[in-house]
């Protein structure tokens, strides 16, 4: 090993490259360990806020005819409780957990797009702050966490309360979108050499599936929020039944996101369970293959359930039957996992420790939640239980059982990794019992309260319905629960302060994250391991020192570059070398520009909003400056006698994969818009008398041709470049053509008379706007490719810029054609139907 520097020297060299300096420079951090922790801490702060709000709810409902909070305040409180818990606690919490864990678990030094992680964090912080500030000044959203229209439309919520929700949450969702793309790409590409897909630890599988679900699941919500905000701000009718809209469209879009969302929250927690349980069973997880199949089944089935939130809206029984059956079936993959976990314990040598205590709590609470879920999936029973406290009980059993308990287990399991110190135990055990007992006292009784007829979301109730004692006990329980959470907090603080230090791998776990030093160094691994077996059955205690000594790949500091490796998606064979961007303030500035956009919309400064958007785009264009290479370098040494090319020289690099993923997401958003248009055409009231929409057809044809020319040029540009030719003119032509297409689509938008008159026009108008936006983006990407080429970043081997130009130009063409089809279909609807 003499050719390697000493571990200490290697540490110093690498740390100098990867570290975030103290002081204000912290704001420039892009490191996944730091950002993962920031995400989780902020999520826990929001958990505390959501918890306080729930205390207000329970205080108000403890006694009948209570005058503590009036209905106005109460409505804001329960809306904010649900919104904070779902969007500002649960989702960011698991994102932070995955951001912190995944590179370590997979044997990488960071995520694929560190600056994007930072940008996501700032969006989360700023968006969340908008909501909290609004609450403090008494303007919090008050339409419930699912914001049903028309209640949340302008006539019934004239103030900015609903805009705060729509804009604040959409702002926060940017962090979910970026995290989804980034985690997806990272899991597929950035693993330790040799870690084939079938050797990935289950947590990575869970997160891969979760990220995939987020890619399909979030766009419907984002689209719905955009449409509702358009309706509120500019009176474009999408949900107004008097003008051809339909409140049910909002429900479909919301729950198309909202149901998968629940599984998006559960799967990461289940991933944590599948990682922790084998450690305490002291044997590998049972049913690795069955669990993979089960999570795939769950992911898909969960997209076929959304109407079970809408069983009482008056949908034909056959349609209800599909969703009812799918909702019942999703219990099967859940059962597979539950029994795999119990079987793992039964066939191992199980031991108790604090994490196991919370896992026991998980089993109790989550199984009850699952069983009541099956009950609610039965349409006839649902007509009684829906919108009653039975549902409140069910949803908390599932969310607290399926997320909070596993996360508490995870915190106790991994906190030593974060802090480098072990648990203290004094407070952990009583805290657990308070939480378990308090939780069940609060929520178990609510099943009965609901069956006795108490609807959810009421601010008070008279004494004559027989709900008094149930509510009082629930309130008592909730305070016991809160004391339990407070004890956990105290316990964690004490652990950071007084916990005993330890060497590597205190639990004798078998996953790579325990091969780092603890607390983990900035670069995770001084060198990257080679994986020959399943990556949940390793010996971190032995691997760790070897890696720290530089015995793996990349065990050196080179040119001040943040280097890590990318592998073949399936086989895990080393494929290329990635040099990650260094720390930067750009994410912060870009997020601030984004914030100015959202705030301008919120305060109805509509002239300012485009400036905010332009500033955001301009800043994003600065991101790639200086990244990439101006010469072909060919394979470079990565240690252990191997050499691979840089990422810019391979066609399957993470940037291209991420853009493809982003296009899938964008495409889902577009598909949701098409669905919305067709849904209104087929189902919504007031479409009989709407006249045909006369648009200048030739303008549309020209626009499509222009966009097609752009797409064709970028495609040919890519080919010409690959064969060594010059593609400057082609890219210039593409940019010009797409710019023309943009103008033509805008002209078409202007040609629509009175877009606010009917949903038919509003949908076509919005669709054309979407097409215009994407032709503009295509022009931008073509120009960007041209610019990269002029700057010397493009060669026959370094073609990323051209591939991106082609991807977005091709997408724009597809959009152009489909939008024109939609316009034609809806435009002629009045005559036929």
């Amino acid at each position: 090993m003499s050719e390697y520097p000493s571990p200490i020297r290697l540490h110093k060299q690498l740390d100098a490259i990867w570290r975030t300096p103290p002081g204000l420079a912290r704001l420039s951090s892009v490191n996944h360990t730091i950002l993962g922790k920031r995400f989780m801490v902020l999520a826990l702060v929001f958990f505390a806020i959501g918890g306080l709000l729930s205390m207000l709810i329970r205080a108000q409902l403890a006694t009948p005819n209570s005058a503590f909070l009036g209905p106005e305040i109460y409505n804001q409180v329960f809306t904010m409780h649900g919104t904070v818990m779902m969007f500002l606690f649960a989702i960011p919490m698991f994102e932070g957990f995955a951001i912190y864990m995944l590179p370590k678990l997979l044997g990488a030094r960071d995520l694929a797009f560190p600056r994007l992680t930072a940008y996501g964090f700032w969006c989360y912080l700023f968006g969340g702050s908008i909501l909290i500030v609004a609450m403090l000044v008494g303007l919090a959203p008050n339409g419930g966490w699912f914001m049903y229209t028309p209640l949340s439309s302008r006539p019934y919520t004239p103030g900015i309360n609903a805009d705060v929700w729509l804009l604040g949450i959409t702002f926060v969702e940017i962090s979910a979108v970026t995290a989804a793309v980034e985690l997806f790409v990272t899991i597929l590409k950035m693993r330790a050499p040799g870690m084939a897909l079938h050797r990935m630890p289950l947590f990575a599988w869970y997160m891969l599936v979760t990220a995939g679900m987020m890619i399909i699941g979030f766009p419907p919500l984002i689209l719905g929020s955009i449409l509702l905000e358009l309706e509120r701000a500019f009176d474009l009718p999408f949900f107004d039944p008097t003008r051809g809209g339909d409140p049910l469209l909002w429900q479909h879009l919301f729950w198309l996101f909202g149901h998968p969302e629940v599984y998006i929250i559960f799967l990461p927690a289940a991933g944590a369970l599948s990682t922790i349980i084998p450690v305490f069973a002291q044997r590998p997880i049972l049913g690795y293959r069955a669990i993979i199949a089960a999570i795939v089944a769950m992911a898909f089935l969960s997209f076929g359930l959304w109407v079970h939130h809408m069983f009482t809206v008056g949908i034909p029984h056959l349609a209800l039957a599909f969703f009812s059956a799918a909702s019942a079936l999703v219990a099967i993959p859940t059962a597979v996992q539950i029994f795999a976990w119990i079987g793992t314990l039964a066939s191992g040598r199980p031991r108790w420790d604090i994490p196991m205590l919370y896992i026991a709590g998980f089993f109790i609470v989550f199984v009850i939640g699952g069983l009541t879920g099956v009950m609610l999936a039965m349409v006839p029973f649902n007509t009684q239980a829906h919108d009653s406290y039975f549902v409140v009980a069910h949803l908390h059993y599932v969310l607290v059982g399926g997320f909070v308990f596993p996360m508490l287990a995870a915190i106790y399991h991994w906190l030593p990794h974060v802090s480098g110190r072990q648990s203290l135990y004094r407070l952990s055990v009583p805290a657990f019992w308070l939480i378990l007992i308090g939780f069940n006292l609060t929520f178990f009784l609510m099943h009965l309260t609901g069956l006795m007829g108490m609807p959810r979301r009421i601010s008070t109730y008279p004494s004559n319905w027989g709900w008094d004692w149930l509510n009082l006990l629930s309130s008592v329980g909730s305070f016991v629960l809160t004391i339990g959470f407070a004890l956990v907090l105290a316990d964690l603080v004490l652990q950071f302060r007084f916990g005993a230090r330890f060497r590597r791998d205190p639990w004798q776990a078998g996953t790579l994250e325990w091969a780092t030093a603890t607390p983990p160094p900035t670069y995770n691994f001084a060198s990257l391991p080679r994986i020959e077996t399943r990556a949940d059955q390793l010996h971190p205690g032995e691997i760790g020192p070897m890696l720290a000594g530089g015995g793996g790949y990349l065990g050196f500091a080179r040119n001040g570059a943040q280097e890590t490796l990318a592998v073949d998606i399936a086989t895990g064979a080393v494929e290329h070398l990635i040099a990650l961007p260094r720390r930067s303030y750009l994410p912060l500035w870009t997020a601030m520009a984004t914030a100015s956009f959202f705030l301008a919309l919120l305060f109805k400064l509509y002239w300012l909003a485009p400036l905010g958007a332009l500033a955001t785009i301009a800043l994003f264009l600065v991101w790639p400056v200086g990244l990439g290479a101006k010469v072909d370098r060919g394979p470079v040494d990565i240690g252990r006698g191997e050499a691979v090319p840089h990422d810019v020289e391979v066609p399957g690099n993470v940037t291209i994969l991420a853009n493809r993923t982003a296009l899938v997401m964008d495409g889902t958003l577009f598909a949701s818009l098409l669905f919305g248009g067709l849904f209104l055409l087929v189902v919504a009231p007031n479409w009989q008398r709407v006249g045909p929409l006369d648009l200048p057809i030739w303008l549309g044809i020209l626009a499509a041709l222009a966009s097609g020319a752009g797409a064709g040029c970028t495609y040919v540009a890519g080919r010409v470049n690959r064969f060594g030719g010059s593609a400057y003119l082609l890219l210039l032509a593409a940019a010009i053509a797409q710019a023309m297409a943009t103008i033509l689509f805008v002209a078409l938008m202007i040609a629509i008379p009175e877009p606010t008159a009917h949903a038919q026009r509003a949908v076509v108008f919005t669709g054309l706007g979407y097409a215009a936006l994407h032709c503009a983006l295509a022009a931008l990407l073509a120009s960007h490719g041209l610019w990269r080429m002029i700057m010397g970043y493009v060669s026959a081997r370094r073609q990323t810029g051209l591939v991106l130009a082609w991807l977005w130009n091709g997408y724009a063409l597809g959009v152009a054609i489909l939008v024109l089809g939609l316009a034609w279909l809806l435009g002629n609807s009045g005559a036929g139907a």
Partner: protein, 102 residues
């Protein structure tokens, strides 16, 4: 990335992708049939779509058993595809009896 390896992930989701498409098509056909009054044709159309969806799933689920150590993903894929078949049989079965438009 070689052709063969990419197949692993595709096979893993193939069955449920078919299930999803069938779900969308059936749900759409149910709504269209009610909106445009397909009358006596409505249910037969749905049943035909149902059977059409089952065919590829049956084919996927009965592919020969993979073996070897690298068979972890193919085995998982096989189970996922069988799950998709089961889900299709059960979830879409109501097209044979449930009320179409009420």
């Amino acid at each position: 990335m070689s052709q063969g390896t990419r197949h692993g992930l595709v096979r893993l989701v193939a069955g449920f992708a078919i299930w999803s498409i069938a779900f969308i098509v059936l749900y759409a056909a149910q709504a269209l049939g009610c909106a445009y009054g397909w009358g006596a044709w409505h249910r037969p159309v749905l049943i035909v779509i149902y059977l059409f969806a089952l065919a590829p799933l049956i084919w996927l689920s009965t592919r020969p058993r993979p073996d070897g150590t690298d068979a972890i993903l193919p085995t998982a894929a096989r189970w996922a595809n069988r799950a998709a078949l089961l889900a299709s049989v059960l979830v879409f079965l109501p097209v044979t009896f449930a009320s179409l438009c009420a």
